[in-house]
């Protein structure tokens, strides 16, 4: 089985993150960049499947030059090789355009299974898995907290607010995962030392047959026109545990429609 894992480099969600003042895109230059957290779970799931069923695991990243740091880190966990789509024209791409690039790269690779994180910590749109599956004409099993593979048949437990749904499909398919699915491994020292020696293929838009105008700002279906910082949090409402503390609390909860 050939598994392609989508890995995105994002600004560390634990540190200060900003949008650029000139074009409202994510400021990647001044941020400390890491692998999108959910993608580590996708990598882990792919490696576990490979350990159980054999086959090959390929990392696929669309991103600027410096995304190679994240690709190297992903490879140090154990995947066999990586594909990096890098092109200046991609800057400013919307989710629809990004899905076009990813789908083209996946189609070129040929994959039995595509695994990705359910969302990225910078964009948080959660639409990419569906868009990619739609473009490729394959099943989308999204939001998995558990994945089982039996030959060509796939079953996931799809995490919902109330519980979970059991969804099945057959390969080729795409599965997006939440962080409840596994515990990602740490790269071993041998894995770290081997990462740089693994095959890394760099592709441009031209290699995928996509014109520059179809992506980036020119091809964007949506653009951020303005942004501002979230206002600082207001001081909370303090209710003293005095005589009327209880009724005040109920009043507050009722006013906020919590009860």
């Amino acid at each position: 089985m050939k598994i392609v894992v989508l890995v995105k480099q994002v600004p560390d969600s634990g540190a200060d993150r900003n949008l650029r003042s000139d074009d409202n895109t994510v400021d990647r230059a001044s941020a400390s960049n890491v692998i999108n957290e959910m993608d580590e779970y996708a990598i882990e799931e792919a490696l576990r499947l490979q350990e159980a069923h054999g086959g090959e695991v390929v990392i696929l990243t669309v991103g600027p030059d410096r995304a190679t740091e994240s690709i190297r880190k992903a490879l140090s966990m154990g995947p066999d090789s990586a594909v990096h789509v890098v092109d200046d024209a991609l800057h400013g791409s919307c989710a629809v355009a990004t899905s076009k690039v990813l789908a083209a790269a996946i189609a070129q690779q040929g994959a039995d299974l595509v695994i990705c994180g359910a969302e990225s910590t910078d964009g948080r749109v959660q639409v990419l898995p569906h868009m990619i599956a739609e473009r490729l004409g394959i099943a989308a099993l999204t939001g998995a907290r558990k994945l089982t593979v039996d030959g060509t048949s796939l079953t996931i437990e799809r995490q919902t607010d109330e519980g979970y749904e059991v969804v099945t499909a057959s390969t080729p398919a795409l599965v997006s995962v939440w962080d409840t699915i596994n515990d990602p491994r740490y790269p071993s020292f041998k894995g770290i030392m081997a990462a740089k020696k693994k095959p890394l293929q760099t592709l441009s838009l031209g290699d995928l047959g996509i014109a520059a105008g179809e992506v980036g700002f020119d091809g964007a279906t949506s653009t951020v026109v303005e942004h501002s910082k979230r206002p600082p949090r207001q001081a909370g409402n303090k209710i003293d545990a005095g005589d009327d503390g209880g009724s005040k609390l109920v009043e507050y909860l009722a006013s906020e429609k919590f009860v």
Partner: protein, 386 residues
């Protein structure tokens, strides 16, 4: 001059930091207070190959150097969960075996160091020979196919969790009768060897012991190097890795303490604004941060020289790195406690828990006075005072 670590070293640093954070200082303190060891952390780090980074690849190790091992030591300490025995087992014992063991000894012992399943402690200090190891009185004599060891060792770390201990004894030269150091790999459960745990004022999952050797028999094949001449160079080969890794660990602990302090002072407010806005609080932290960064630079330099095979220069720098990092970490912990006020002395805030260990860093494995003696005498041409 290049101040960047390689991408592999940087990735190792990130990976170890992540692992260390999952355990954290709370784990470390819980283990110490329960009288338990950091077995889970040791085993997990071992499985990932982090403890065998400096063991040659042909024996299953990572094939890296002391730079890599120092990174592992520093990052675990920076997460609040140092592993003291890294300084003894992979740094001292594995280096001695790797550089001075016979081919058979290397094949026998190094694979266990590589995968972390072999934990070995190191015993040189004696009640009457600490700073002055020329006064060692533990002796070994040849008896048939064995050596027989008699003597005492003190403050030996981790004996209860190690399968073997490298013992520095003295042996009479067959021709001249002069006593020379000889190093033996001795099982910690050898007949005639008794341990007595010392009560130390250090919060640490590792313990120190007093060891009595009463006619302990060791096969000749366990004399490291199998040649009485191998003793002195073998002993010296362990000292640089020891100093560099202990210094790296101290830097990590210092970073941990200052991170706790700066997080606290950024939010704790006494006069209507964060106490970190008072220079009386912020400047000591900034000062300590600078001392720690200077020490880290010295550790990196000493490790780079050592890995380049420049042992003599590495020795000078390892000593200075050890001195600087012990001072910086003692300062950092003291500063962090002060910045926390009363909370600084609680167990919960996890800074006073570091007092004993960082204070001991000024004494062990070589005291600050002995390093100052060394620098004054060898680098500044002053007359020996002792």
């Amino acid at each position: 001059m290049d101040f960047d670590y390689t991408s592999e070293q940087q990735d190792l640093r990130d990976a170890v930091a992540k692992l260390g954070k999952r355990y954290g200082h709370e784990y470390f303190v819980r283990k110490a207070k329960a009288g338990e060891h950091s077995d889970e952390l040791w085993d997990e780090a071992a499985r990932l190959g982090y403890l065998g980074v400096s063991v040659p690849e042909e024996f299953g190790g990572g094939g890296g150097g002391i730079t890599e091992l120092a990174i592992v030591c520093e990052e675990l300490a920076a997460a609040g969960a140092p592993l003291l025995l890294l300084v003894v087992s992979p740094a001292i014992a594995a280096t001695i075996v790797s550089r001075h063991g016979t081919a058979a000894q290397r094949a026998r012992w190094l694979p266990g160091f590589a995968d972390g399943t072999r934990k070995v402690c190191f015993a040189i200090t004696e009640p009457d020979a600490g700073s002055n190891f020329h006064k060692l009185s533990t002796v070994a004599r040849r008896d048939g196919d064995d050596y027989v060891i008699t003597g005492r060792k003190v403050y030996i770390s981790g004996v209860d969790e190690c399968s073997q201990v490298v013992v520095v004894a003295r042996m009479a030269d067959e021709r001249t009768g002069k006593l020379k150091p000889a190093l033996f790999m001795v099982p910690t459960d050898a007949p005639g060897l008794t341990l007595s745990k010392l009560d130390m004022e250090i919060v640490s999952p590792e313990n120190q012991f007093l060891l009595f050797f009463d006619e302990v028999r060791v096969p000749a094949a366990d004399l490291i190097g199998e040649d009485p001449e191998a003793g002195l160079p073998a002993l010296f080969s362990g000292l640089n890795p020891e100093r560099i890794t202990v210094a790296a660990m101290a830097c990590g602990t210092a970073r941990y303490a200052l991170e706790r302090a700066s997080t606290y002072t950024a939010t704790r407010s006494v006069w209507g604004r964060p106490i970190g806005s008072h220079q009386g609080v912020a400047h000591p932290m900034a000062h300590a941060h600078i001392q720690v960064e200077l020490a880290r630079l010295m550790v990196a330099k000493a490790a780079a020289l050592y890995d380049a095979g420049r042992d003599l220069e590495a020795g000078v720098n390892a000593n200075m790195a050890k001195y600087a990092s012990a001072e910086a970490s003692a300062l950092a912990v003291d500063t962090a406690i002060q910045a926390h006020g009363g909370n600084g002395m609680t167990t919960e805030y996890g800074v006073a828990t570091l007092l004993g260990a960082t204070r001991a860093g000024r004494i062990a494995p070589v005291s600050r006075e002995m390093i100052l003696n060394f620098v004054a005498q060898h680098l500044m041409g002053q007359e020996k005072s002792y």
